[in-house]
C-alpha cells in the first residue's frame, strides 16, 4: 500500500467535492447548525429556566448535545462516499481509474480519505464553535469552563473518526450494489439508526462519559475492521467490472 498513491486519489476526491455544491452546503450546514443551535438553546432556555445549580444537571444535556457531532460523523461521509463511488459508476470513470497502476486498496483508501477528511474537518469546526459558545454561555453559571474535556476529546478524536470510517465502508458496500446515488443514500441512512439508539440509550442506561465512549469506540473499531474486509472484497476490480450493477 503506497500512501502517496492513495493521497493522489484523495486529493482528486477533495477537488471533486468542491464542485458538488449541494453536498458541500450539507457538510457545512450540519456542524455549524449544531455548533450554533445547541449553545443558543442552552443560553436561552436551559440555564435561565432549568432550575438552581446548573452545574448539577446541565452537563447531562451538554454531553447529549455533543454526541450530535458523532451522529454527524456517521451521516455526512455517506453522502460523499456514495456520490464518489456511485458517481464514478454512473459516469463510467471507474474503469480508466482501475487501469492505472494503483491498487484496489489504494483507490479505496483514497476515496475513504476523501470522505473522511472533510467530514472530520467540518465536525471539528462545528465542535470548536459549539465548545466556545457553550463556555461563554455557561462559565458564569458553572464557575468554570466546561470545555474542553475528556468526553469531548474522545468523541471528536476517537469515536467520530471511527464512526465515519464505519459509515464510509458501509457506503462502499452499498454503492457496489446500487446504480444510483439516491438509492445509495437511502440505504446508507439506515446507518443512523444505531447512532439514534445509542443516543436514546444514553438517556436511560448508558451515560455518555469518556469511559463509555471509549468502550463504544472499541465496538465501532471492530465493526470498522469487519466492514473494511467486506468493502475490500466488494471493491475488487474483478467485482467492479463484471458484477457491479
Amino acid at each position: 500500500m503506497r500512501l502517496s498513491q492513495a493521497w493522489v486519489v484523495a486529493r482528486h476526491e477533495l477537488r471533486q467535492l468542491r464542485q458538488r455544491r449541494g453536498i458541500l452546503v450539507g457538510l457545512i450546514a450540519f456542524p455549524v447548525g449544531v455548533g450554533l443551535g445547541f449553545p443558543a438553546l442552552v443560553d436561552l432556555q436551559l440555564v435561565p429556566h432549568g432550575g438552581p445549580d446548573p452545574g448539577s444537571w446541565a452537563p447531562m444535556y451538554l454531553n447529549a448535545f455533543a454526541f450530535w457531532f458523532v451522529i454527524g460523523a456517521a451521516s455526512l461521509p455517506t453522502t460523499i462516499a456514495s456520490y464518489s463511488i456511485v458517481g464514478e459508476k454512473v459516469s463510467k470513470s471507474l474503469e480508466p481509474l482501475l487501469a492505472t497502476p494503483t491498487t484496489d486498496g489504494e483507490i479505496l483508501l483514497g476515496k475513504a480519505l476523501g470522505a473522511l477528511l472533510p467530514t472530520l474537518f467540518a465536525m471539528w469546526l462545528g465542535a470548536a464553535l459549539y465548545q466556545g459558545l457553550i463556555d461563554v454561555g455557561t462559565v458564569g453559571a458553572f464557575g468554570y469552563l466546561y470545555y474542553p474535556n475528556w468526553q469531548m476529546a474522545v468523541e471528536l478524536f476517537v469515536a467520530a473518526p471511527l464512526v465515519a470510517l464505519v459509515a464510509i465502508e458501509a457506503s462502499v458496500i452499498i454503492s457496489s450494489r446500487v446504480t444510483d446515488f439516491r438509492s445509495a443514500q437511502q440505504y446508507a441512512s439506515v446507518l443512523l439508526l444505531p447512532m439514534i439508539i445509542i443516543y436514546v440509550a444514553a438517556e436511560i442506561v448508558l451515560p455518555l462519559n469518556a469511559v463509555n465512549l471509549l468502550l463504544l469506540s472499541g465496538i465501532f473499531a471492530l465493526v470498522a475492521l469487519a466492514l473494511y474486509r467486506v468493502s475490500l472484497r466488494a471493491f475488487r476490480r474483478d467485482e467492479i467490472l463484471t458484477r457491479w450493477k
Binding site: 482528486h12 459516469s91 480508466p96 487501469a99 467490472l241
Partner: protein, 310 residues
Amino acid sequence: MIHAENLTKRFGDLTAVDHVSLDVREGEVFGFLGPNGAGKTTTVRMLSGLISKSAGSAVVAGCEVGKEADALRLREQIGILPENVGLYEGSSAYENLEYFGQLHRMDPTALRSNIERLLRTMDLWEKKDVRVETFSKGMKQKLAIARTLVHDPVLLFLDEPTANLDPEAAKMVRETILALRRERRTIFLNTHNLDEAQRVCDRVGILRTRLLTVGSPRELEAGLHGRRTVVRLERATETLARAVQDRIGPRPVEVSGDRLLIDVEDPDRENPEIAAAIVAAGGRILELTQPSASLEEVYLKLVHEGAAGS
C-alpha cells in the same frame, strides 16, 4: 508485444472468451473484430489485467498477466481507452490528464510537457481549462485518447473508439489513430467497424467467443474463396480453357458466359502465363482481374459459421 495462449474467461456457466491464442507484434495496429457480445472487451480486460482469466496464459509488454508481482508494471506500460470514455465531466481537460499522469507517478515537469503536447496534438489546448461537460462527443473521445497516452505507454488498447460518434467525429478519431500508427505505437483496436479495420489495421483477428481467424485484411479477403483469376474475353470457349490448362497445369478452369474463371496459386507468376496462353490460342482479352471478397464478406461468413458451430 502480446502473446496469448488459450486465454479463456468464464462467468459461471457462460464462456465469454474461449481458448483465444494470438500474437501482436511491436508497432502494429491489430484489429479485433467481432459482433456485440463476442468477447472483445472481456479479452482486452483480461490482457490488461483488469479482470482475472479463467484459464490460459498471456504475456503483455513483458509482463505475465495474472501474476500479482507484474500487475502494476503491466498497467504502467499500457494505456486503455474503454468503450465509455469515463471522463470527469466537472473537471477541465487539463485536470483530467493531470490526475491520470499523477496516478502513473509521472515527474511533474514531464507530465506538464506531455499534457501540453497531447492537448496541442488533439487540438484541445485552447480549451484546456474548460470543463469537459461542455465538450462535443468527438472532443471528449480525443481527450480520452490523450488520457491513454499521457504516460507514454508502449501499448494501447482502444475499445470501440468510434462507436456512437457522428461521421465527422469518427473521422477525427480515426485520423488520430492513423497518426499514432505513424508513430509506430502498438495498438490493439477493438471494433466492429469493418471499414475502420480495413483502413487502419495491419492485421485483424475475428472473434466470436473463439478466435476464428487472424491475418492482414488482404490475406483474409484473398483467403475466403481461394485465389481466382477472372478473364473477360471477346468469346470464351472450351478451347481457350484447355489452352490455359496446358500452359499452367491441371487447374480448375471454368467457362462462364464471356469469362474464364481460373483457380491460381501464385497470381503474379501465373497471370502473365494465362494471358500468353489465351493470346497464343487466338483469344482476345478484354479484362483480366483478381477479384477478392471484401473484409465484410469474410467477416460475415466467419461470424455466421462461428455462430452455427457454437
